[in-house]
């Protein structure tokens, strides 16, 4: 304890004097994920190749950018009777009614929306568009079913391969989306699915 308090006190003095503070690894404090731009003497390409060589050789290296850990989940139980199930379509491909009436952002999304598809056998070209900033949208604009496969799912509904297609589809834009926002969007959509008796979803990504 005395040693730790001494280190804390000396550190506090340096902060108080607005001295330059180094990285958590050097200074010994818990990192907060704050990034500071630095000029280094070797170009990034060389540093990256050194890391790759180390990875291939199985020798230790320190990543300059640490990715957030992946949270794995247990696979949901299989749907037992798909012929009676209510299926919803979700897309991160940014398909919205033409004109983007709710002004969904084209990247760095923080929102999601649903749009009605009751009585529609497919998404008609010209009435929908893709606002996603991360892929060439010409194919999706010519045929929105390439991203929201309503025509196919409706056909399978008529053939009783599924019980029903939920009356709305869900959309957000999946490019540059912060992990924390993605988690929140996912939880909110899941709650909406449960509230509306949806048994399973088809999520399309672009």
């Amino acid at each position: 304890m005395p040693e730790t308090l001494g280190r804390l006190a000396r550190f506090a003095l340096r902060l108080g004097r607005s001295e330059t503070i180094g990285s958590p690894a050097v200074e010994g404090f818990y990192g907060r994920g704050v990034r500071k731009t630095q000029l280094l003497d070797r170009p990034a390409a060389e540093r990256a190749l050194d890391m790759l060589s180390a990875r291939l050789a199985g020798t230790p290296f320190i990543s300059e950018l640490v990715l957030p850990p992946v949270e794995r989940s247990t696979p949901a139980p299989a749907v037992k009777n798909i012929g009676r199930a209510r299926i919803a379509i979700i897309t991160t491909g940014g398909i919205v009614p033409k004109g983007n009436p709710d002004k969904l952002k084209q990247s760095n999304s923080t929102e999601w929306r649903t749009y009605p598809i009751e009585g529609l056998d497919s998404l008609e070209a010209g009435k929908y568009e893709s606002i996603h900033a991360g892929y060439d949208t010409s194919a999706a604009n010519a045929n929105p079913n390439y991203v929201v496969p309503l025509d196919a799912l409706r056909e399978l509904e008529h053939a009783h391969a599924v019980g029903s297609v939920y009356s709305r589809y869900y959309v957000t834009v999946g490019v540059g989306t912060a992990v924390t926002e993605s988690r929140r969007i996912g939880r909110e959509i899941a709650a909406d699915l449960r509230a509306n008796g949806v048994d399973a979803v088809i999520l399309t990504a672009t």
Partner: protein, 67 residues
């Protein structure tokens, strides 16, 4: 999840991944004629329903056009 980047989706935590066609058109192929493209899409969605009906102990990637 239907994704053209199946292994990426699986690596990032998606448990049931069905291989899509390509990033800009995961559920279709504009190089096919209308009938062929539609048939492909129906098979892809049918494959997704199969994935939904399959019990899994861990994440799996499903062939996109399994009947």
């Amino acid at each position: 999840m239907i994704s053209a980047l199946g292994p990426v989706a699986s690596e990032l935590g998606a448990n049931r991944v069905v291989r899509g066609v390509k990033i800009p058109h995961p559920c279709g192929d504009p190089s096919l004629d209308a009938a062929g493209d539609h048939d492909l899409r129906v098979r892809l969605v049918r494959g997704s329903l199969k994935a939904i009906s399959t019990t899994l102990e861990q994440a799996a990637i499903f062939d996109g056009v399994a009947a």
